[in-house]
Protein backbone atom coordinates (compact mmCIF):
# COMPACT_ATOMS: atom_id res chain seq x y z
CA UNK A 1 0.00 0.00 0.00
CA UNK A 2 0.96 3.61 -0.45
CA UNK A 3 0.57 5.85 2.58
CA UNK A 4 -0.43 9.51 2.21
CA UNK A 5 0.04 11.64 5.30
CA UNK A 6 0.16 15.37 6.16
CA UNK A 7 2.58 16.63 8.80
CA UNK A 8 3.80 19.86 10.34
CA UNK A 9 7.43 20.82 11.00
CA UNK A 10 7.63 18.38 13.91
CA UNK A 11 5.95 15.47 12.09
CA UNK A 12 2.74 16.22 13.96
CA UNK A 13 -0.58 15.00 12.55
CA UNK A 14 -3.34 15.60 15.10
CA UNK A 15 -4.12 17.64 18.20
CA UNK A 16 -7.03 16.94 20.54
CA UNK A 17 -8.45 14.36 18.10
CA UNK A 18 -8.56 16.94 15.31
CA UNK A 19 -6.42 17.24 12.21
CA UNK A 20 -3.83 19.99 12.45
CA UNK A 21 -4.81 21.51 9.13
CA UNK A 22 -6.46 20.92 5.78
CA UNK A 23 -6.26 22.44 2.32
CA UNK A 24 -8.63 22.32 -0.64
CA UNK A 25 -5.85 22.44 -3.24
CA UNK A 26 -4.06 19.59 -1.52
CA UNK A 27 -7.21 17.47 -1.61
CA UNK A 28 -7.52 18.07 -5.36
CA UNK A 29 -3.84 17.19 -5.75
CA UNK A 30 -4.32 13.90 -3.90
CA UNK A 31 -7.41 13.00 -5.90
CA UNK A 32 -5.62 13.69 -9.18
CA UNK A 33 -2.66 11.50 -8.17
CA UNK A 34 -4.86 8.61 -7.07
CA UNK A 35 -7.55 8.69 -9.79
CA UNK A 36 -6.35 5.47 -11.45
CA UNK A 37 -6.27 3.42 -8.25
CA UNK A 38 -8.17 3.07 -4.98
CA UNK A 39 -7.90 5.68 -2.24
CA UNK A 40 -8.71 4.24 1.17
CA UNK A 41 -9.57 6.27 4.26
CA UNK A 42 -11.69 6.11 7.39
CA UNK A 43 -14.93 7.98 8.06
CA UNK A 44 -13.15 10.84 9.83
CA UNK A 45 -11.07 11.57 6.74
CA UNK A 46 -13.93 10.96 4.33
CA UNK A 47 -15.80 13.92 5.75
CA UNK A 48 -12.99 16.13 4.50
CA UNK A 49 -13.58 14.85 0.96
CA UNK A 50 -17.37 14.97 1.11
CA UNK A 51 -17.61 17.76 -1.44
CA UNK A 52 -15.33 16.02 -3.90
CA UNK A 53 -16.88 13.64 -6.38
CA UNK A 54 -14.16 11.01 -6.31
CA UNK A 55 -15.09 7.45 -7.29
CA UNK A 56 -11.70 6.10 -6.20
CA UNK A 57 -12.46 6.78 -2.53
CA UNK A 58 -13.19 3.69 -0.41
CA UNK A 59 -14.28 4.37 3.16
CA UNK A 60 -13.65 1.80 5.86
CA UNK A 61 -12.56 2.34 9.45
CA UNK A 62 -10.30 -0.69 9.08
CA UNK A 63 -8.93 0.61 5.81
CA UNK A 64 -5.28 -0.25 6.25
CA UNK A 65 -6.19 -3.90 6.59
CA UNK A 66 -8.24 -3.70 3.43
CA UNK A 67 -5.82 -1.87 1.12
CA UNK A 68 -3.94 -3.97 -1.42
CA UNK A 69 -0.66 -3.54 -3.26
CA UNK A 70 -0.45 -0.26 -5.16
CA UNK A 71 -3.52 1.15 -3.45
CA UNK A 72 -3.45 4.42 -1.53
CA UNK A 73 -4.28 4.99 2.15
CA UNK A 74 -4.91 8.54 3.37
CA UNK A 75 -3.89 8.46 7.02
CA UNK A 76 -4.78 11.19 9.50
CA UNK A 77 -5.53 9.76 12.94
CA UNK A 78 -4.08 6.24 12.79
CA UNK A 79 -0.75 4.69 13.66
CA UNK A 80 0.63 2.88 10.63
CA UNK A 81 3.25 0.96 12.62
CA UNK A 82 1.31 -2.35 12.65
CA UNK A 83 1.03 -2.19 8.87
CA UNK A 84 4.52 -0.94 8.10
CA UNK A 85 5.73 -4.16 6.50
CA UNK A 86 3.12 -3.76 3.75
CA UNK A 87 3.92 -0.12 3.04
CA UNK A 88 5.73 0.18 -0.28
CA UNK A 89 5.73 3.97 -0.55
CA UNK A 90 5.08 7.02 1.66
CA UNK A 91 3.80 10.30 0.23
CA UNK A 92 4.41 12.96 2.81
CA UNK A 93 2.84 16.41 2.57
CA UNK A 94 4.53 19.01 4.71
CA UNK A 95 2.50 22.05 5.76
CA UNK A 96 5.74 23.95 6.42
CA UNK A 97 4.11 25.33 9.57
CA UNK A 98 4.31 24.60 13.27
CA UNK A 99 1.10 23.42 14.89
CA UNK A 100 0.43 21.79 18.25
CA UNK A 101 0.47 17.99 18.15
CA UNK A 102 -0.35 15.09 20.43
CA UNK A 103 -0.17 12.51 17.65
CA UNK A 104 2.81 12.32 15.32
CA UNK A 105 3.82 10.27 12.31
CA UNK A 106 5.61 7.35 13.88
CA UNK A 107 7.84 6.23 11.01
CA UNK A 108 11.41 7.50 10.98
CA UNK A 109 12.00 7.96 7.27
CA UNK A 110 15.70 8.57 7.87
CA UNK A 111 16.01 4.91 8.84
CA UNK A 112 14.57 1.59 7.74
CA UNK A 113 15.93 1.84 4.20
CA UNK A 114 13.61 4.63 3.07
CA UNK A 115 14.85 6.78 0.17
CA UNK A 116 13.55 10.23 -0.76
CA UNK A 117 12.92 9.97 -4.50
CA UNK A 118 10.83 13.06 -5.25
CA UNK A 119 10.26 16.53 -3.80
CA UNK A 120 7.88 19.17 -5.09
CA UNK A 121 6.54 22.43 -3.67
CA UNK A 122 3.17 23.91 -4.52
CA UNK A 123 0.87 26.60 -3.13
CA UNK A 124 -2.25 25.48 -1.32
CA UNK A 125 -5.51 27.31 -0.85
CA UNK A 126 -4.60 28.40 2.67
CA UNK A 127 -0.94 27.41 2.87
CA UNK A 128 1.77 29.38 1.10
CA UNK A 129 3.91 26.34 0.43
CA UNK A 130 3.08 22.67 0.73
CA UNK A 131 5.94 20.27 0.10
CA UNK A 132 5.31 16.83 -1.35
CA UNK A 133 7.96 14.23 -0.53
CA UNK A 134 7.85 10.67 -1.87
CA UNK A 135 9.77 7.92 -0.11
CA UNK A 136 10.30 4.37 -1.35
CA UNK A 137 12.17 1.43 0.14
Amino acid sequence: MIIIVCVDDNMGMMFNRRRQSQDRVLREHILEDTKDSKLWMNHYSAKQFSENNAPQINVDDNFMSEAGDGEYCFVEDCDITPYLRWVEKVILYRWNRRYPADQTFSVDLAEGGWKLVHTEDFAGSSHDKITEEIYTR
Binding site: R18, Q22, H127
Partner: protein
Protein backbone atom coordinates in the same frame (compact mmCIF):
# COMPACT_ATOMS: atom_id res chain seq x y z
CA UNK B 1 6.40 26.92 39.49
CA UNK B 2 3.97 24.67 41.34
CA UNK B 3 4.22 26.79 44.47
CA UNK B 4 3.50 29.92 42.51
CA UNK B 5 0.62 28.26 40.72
CA UNK B 6 -0.84 27.30 44.09
CA UNK B 7 -0.47 30.85 45.24
CA UNK B 8 -2.46 31.78 42.18
CA UNK B 9 -5.41 29.70 43.19
CA UNK B 10 -7.61 32.58 44.30
CA UNK B 11 -6.97 34.31 41.01
CA UNK B 12 -7.61 31.12 39.11
CA UNK B 13 -10.82 30.62 40.99
CA UNK B 14 -11.87 34.16 40.25
CA UNK B 15 -11.14 33.56 36.62
CA UNK B 16 -13.00 30.32 36.87
CA UNK B 17 -16.02 32.22 38.13
CA UNK B 18 -15.60 34.82 35.47
CA UNK B 19 -15.43 32.14 32.86
CA UNK B 20 -18.02 30.28 34.57
CA UNK B 21 -20.68 30.28 32.79
CA UNK B 22 -18.22 28.46 31.15
CA UNK B 23 -17.63 25.70 33.28
CA UNK B 24 -21.14 24.59 33.93
CA UNK B 25 -20.77 21.14 35.26
CA UNK B 26 -16.98 21.14 35.15
CA UNK B 27 -15.06 20.91 38.38
CA UNK B 28 -11.56 21.11 37.01
CA UNK B 29 -9.14 22.80 39.38
CA UNK B 30 -6.28 24.79 38.00
CA UNK B 31 -4.39 23.65 41.07
CA UNK B 32 -3.54 20.57 39.07
CA UNK B 33 -1.42 22.45 36.57
CA UNK B 34 1.90 20.64 36.86
CA UNK B 35 5.35 22.11 37.13
CA UNK B 36 6.94 22.99 33.84
CA UNK B 37 8.65 19.80 32.73
CA UNK B 38 9.85 20.34 29.20
CA UNK B 39 6.63 20.88 27.27
CA UNK B 40 5.75 24.50 26.49
CA UNK B 41 2.09 23.89 27.36
CA UNK B 42 -0.26 21.56 29.19
CA UNK B 43 -3.90 20.86 28.46
CA UNK B 44 -6.52 22.22 30.85
CA UNK B 45 -10.08 21.01 31.47
CA UNK B 46 -9.54 17.98 29.26
CA UNK B 47 -8.69 20.36 26.43
CA UNK B 48 -12.22 21.80 26.41
CA UNK B 49 -12.55 25.60 26.47
CA UNK B 50 -14.74 27.21 29.14
CA UNK B 51 -17.16 28.66 26.60
CA UNK B 52 -20.84 27.88 26.76
CA UNK B 53 -22.83 27.22 23.60
CA UNK B 54 -24.51 30.59 24.04
CA UNK B 55 -21.09 32.24 23.64
CA UNK B 56 -20.76 30.91 20.12
CA UNK B 57 -21.49 33.62 17.59
CA UNK B 58 -20.81 34.34 13.96
CA UNK B 59 -20.48 38.04 14.67
CA UNK B 60 -16.83 39.02 14.68
CA UNK B 61 -15.66 41.05 17.68
CA UNK B 62 -12.55 41.88 19.69
CA UNK B 63 -12.40 42.84 23.36
CA UNK B 64 -9.32 43.75 25.37
CA UNK B 65 -9.39 44.35 29.13
CA UNK B 66 -8.29 47.66 30.55
CA UNK B 67 -4.90 47.57 32.22
CA UNK B 68 -5.01 47.15 36.00
CA UNK B 69 -3.36 49.57 38.42
CA UNK B 70 0.16 48.20 37.95
CA UNK B 71 -0.48 48.40 34.19
CA UNK B 72 -0.96 44.69 33.54
CA UNK B 73 -3.05 43.17 30.79
CA UNK B 74 -6.19 41.17 31.41
CA UNK B 75 -8.38 38.89 29.32
CA UNK B 76 -8.29 39.30 25.55
CA UNK B 77 -11.39 37.85 23.90
CA UNK B 78 -12.44 37.73 20.27
CA UNK B 79 -14.53 36.03 17.69
CA UNK B 80 -11.87 35.72 15.03
CA UNK B 81 -12.64 35.52 11.33
CA UNK B 82 -11.33 36.76 8.02
CA UNK B 83 -12.96 40.09 9.04
CA UNK B 84 -10.48 40.53 11.89
CA UNK B 85 -7.36 39.18 10.18
CA UNK B 86 -4.66 41.48 8.78
CA UNK B 87 -4.82 42.96 5.34
CA UNK B 88 -1.56 44.88 5.52
CA UNK B 89 2.01 44.47 6.73
CA UNK B 90 2.62 44.30 10.45
CA UNK B 91 3.49 47.60 12.12
CA UNK B 92 5.91 48.56 14.87
CA UNK B 93 5.22 47.60 18.49
CA UNK B 94 8.60 48.57 19.95
CA UNK B 95 7.19 51.65 21.65
CA UNK B 96 5.14 49.51 24.06
CA UNK B 97 6.79 48.54 27.34
CA UNK B 98 4.60 45.89 29.03
CA UNK B 99 4.94 45.41 32.78
CA UNK B 100 8.16 43.65 33.77
CA UNK B 101 9.82 44.53 30.48
CA UNK B 102 13.61 44.26 30.26
CA UNK B 103 15.76 44.21 27.18
CA UNK B 104 18.16 41.38 27.93
CA UNK B 105 19.98 38.86 25.80
CA UNK B 106 21.33 35.36 26.39
CA UNK B 107 23.47 33.27 24.06
CA UNK B 108 21.42 30.19 24.84
CA UNK B 109 18.28 31.68 23.29
CA UNK B 110 17.53 31.52 19.59
CA UNK B 111 17.47 35.17 18.57
CA UNK B 112 19.26 36.06 21.84
CA UNK B 113 16.49 38.20 23.37
CA UNK B 114 14.85 36.72 26.46
CA UNK B 115 11.65 38.73 26.19
CA UNK B 116 9.28 39.41 23.33
CA UNK B 117 6.39 41.83 23.33
CA UNK B 118 4.03 38.94 23.24
CA UNK B 119 0.58 39.41 21.68
CA UNK B 120 -2.20 37.84 23.72
CA UNK B 121 -4.22 37.49 20.53
CA UNK B 122 -1.66 37.05 17.77
CA UNK B 123 -1.27 39.64 15.05
CA UNK B 124 -2.22 37.10 12.39
CA UNK B 125 -5.65 36.73 14.04
CA UNK B 126 -6.79 40.27 14.88
CA UNK B 127 -4.19 42.53 13.25
CA UNK B 128 -3.53 44.41 16.47
CA UNK B 129 -0.19 46.19 16.42
CA UNK B 130 0.79 48.52 19.28
CA UNK B 131 -2.23 47.82 21.48
CA UNK B 132 -0.91 47.93 25.05
CA UNK B 133 -3.95 45.92 26.19
CA UNK B 134 -2.83 43.03 24.02
CA UNK B 135 0.91 42.87 24.73
CA UNK B 136 2.63 41.22 27.68
CA UNK B 137 6.23 40.54 28.56
CA UNK B 138 6.66 36.98 27.37
CA UNK B 139 9.70 34.83 26.86
CA UNK B 140 10.69 33.88 23.35
CA UNK B 141 9.88 30.31 24.36
CA UNK B 142 6.33 31.28 25.34
CA UNK B 143 5.87 33.24 22.15
CA UNK B 144 7.42 30.87 19.61
CA UNK B 145 7.13 27.40 21.14
CA UNK B 146 4.05 27.92 23.27
CA UNK B 147 1.55 30.26 21.64
CA UNK B 148 2.52 30.51 17.97
CA UNK B 149 1.63 26.93 16.93
CA UNK B 150 -1.90 27.41 18.28
CA UNK B 151 -2.24 30.76 16.52
CA UNK B 152 -1.05 29.15 13.29
CA UNK B 153 -3.59 26.37 13.58
CA UNK B 154 -6.46 28.80 14.16
CA UNK B 155 -5.36 31.21 11.42
CA UNK B 156 -5.02 28.48 8.80
CA UNK B 157 -8.36 26.95 9.76
CA UNK B 158 -10.09 30.29 9.27
CA UNK B 159 -8.33 30.97 5.97
CA UNK B 160 -9.33 27.53 4.70
CA UNK B 161 -12.94 27.41 5.87
CA UNK B 162 -13.95 31.08 6.23
CA UNK B 163 -15.47 30.03 9.55
CA UNK B 164 -15.32 31.91 12.88
CA UNK B 165 -13.34 30.89 15.96
CA UNK B 166 -14.15 32.02 19.49
CA UNK B 167 -10.77 32.76 21.03
CA UNK B 168 -9.73 33.89 24.50
CA UNK B 169 -6.32 34.41 26.07
CA UNK B 170 -5.99 35.10 29.79
CA UNK B 171 -2.61 36.11 31.23
CA UNK B 172 -2.12 34.70 34.73
CA UNK B 173 -0.15 36.85 37.15
CA UNK B 174 0.88 35.51 40.54
CA UNK B 175 -0.06 38.15 43.14
CA UNK B 176 1.54 41.48 42.33
CA UNK B 177 4.05 40.05 39.88
CA UNK B 178 4.72 42.15 36.84
CA UNK B 179 5.49 39.20 34.60
CA UNK B 180 2.79 36.60 33.93
CA UNK B 181 3.40 33.00 34.95
CA UNK B 182 1.71 31.92 31.75
CA UNK B 183 -1.38 32.30 29.64
CA UNK B 184 -4.58 30.28 29.40
CA UNK B 185 -5.53 29.87 25.73
CA UNK B 186 -9.01 28.74 24.71
CA UNK B 187 -10.49 28.36 21.25
CA UNK B 188 -13.52 26.79 19.64
CA UNK B 189 -14.66 26.95 16.03
CA UNK B 190 -18.20 28.27 15.73
CA UNK B 191 -19.93 27.00 12.59
CA UNK B 192 -18.90 23.38 13.16
CA UNK B 193 -19.24 23.61 16.98
CA UNK B 194 -15.61 22.77 17.68
CA UNK B 195 -15.20 19.99 15.16
CA UNK B 196 -12.35 21.87 13.48
CA UNK B 197 -10.78 23.82 16.36
CA UNK B 198 -11.12 23.05 20.05
CA UNK B 199 -8.50 23.47 22.73
CA UNK B 200 -7.88 24.74 26.24
CA UNK B 201 -4.24 24.92 27.25
CA UNK B 202 -1.89 26.70 29.63
CA UNK B 203 1.38 27.97 28.14
CA UNK B 204 4.27 28.48 30.53
CA UNK B 205 6.05 31.83 30.47
CA UNK B 206 9.43 30.24 31.04
CA UNK B 207 12.70 30.16 29.17
CA UNK B 208 14.81 27.00 29.48
CA UNK B 209 18.27 27.91 30.77
CA UNK B 210 17.15 31.17 32.35
CA UNK B 211 15.76 31.94 35.81
CA UNK B 212 13.14 34.67 35.90
CA UNK B 213 12.05 36.80 38.85
CA UNK B 214 8.38 37.16 37.95
CA UNK B 215 7.93 40.00 40.44
CA UNK B 216 10.20 42.31 38.49
CA UNK B 217 11.19 40.64 35.23
CA UNK B 218 14.84 40.47 36.29
CA UNK B 219 16.59 37.32 35.08
CA UNK B 220 19.76 35.29 35.51
CA UNK B 221 21.36 32.44 33.67
CA UNK B 222 20.45 29.11 35.22
CA UNK B 223 23.34 27.29 36.84
CA UNK B 224 22.87 24.31 34.61
CA UNK B 225 23.05 26.42 31.48
CA UNK B 226 26.44 26.75 29.79
CA UNK B 227 25.82 29.77 27.58
CA UNK B 228 26.20 33.18 29.11
CA UNK B 229 24.39 36.48 29.04
CA UNK B 230 25.20 38.68 26.07
CA UNK B 231 26.03 42.34 26.13
Amino acid sequence: MKKSIRALLPLFLAIGLLLSACSAGNTYSLDSIPDYSGSPYVTVNDNQPYFSDSNLTTTSFESYSNLDSPGRCGVAYACVSTDTMPTEERGSIGQIKPTGWHTVKYDCIDGKYLYNRCHLIGYQLTAENANEKNLITGTRYLNVDGMLPFENMVADYIKETDNHVLYRVTPIFDGDNLVASGVLMEAKSVEDKGEGICFCIFCYNVQPGVNIDYATGESTLAESSTAGESN
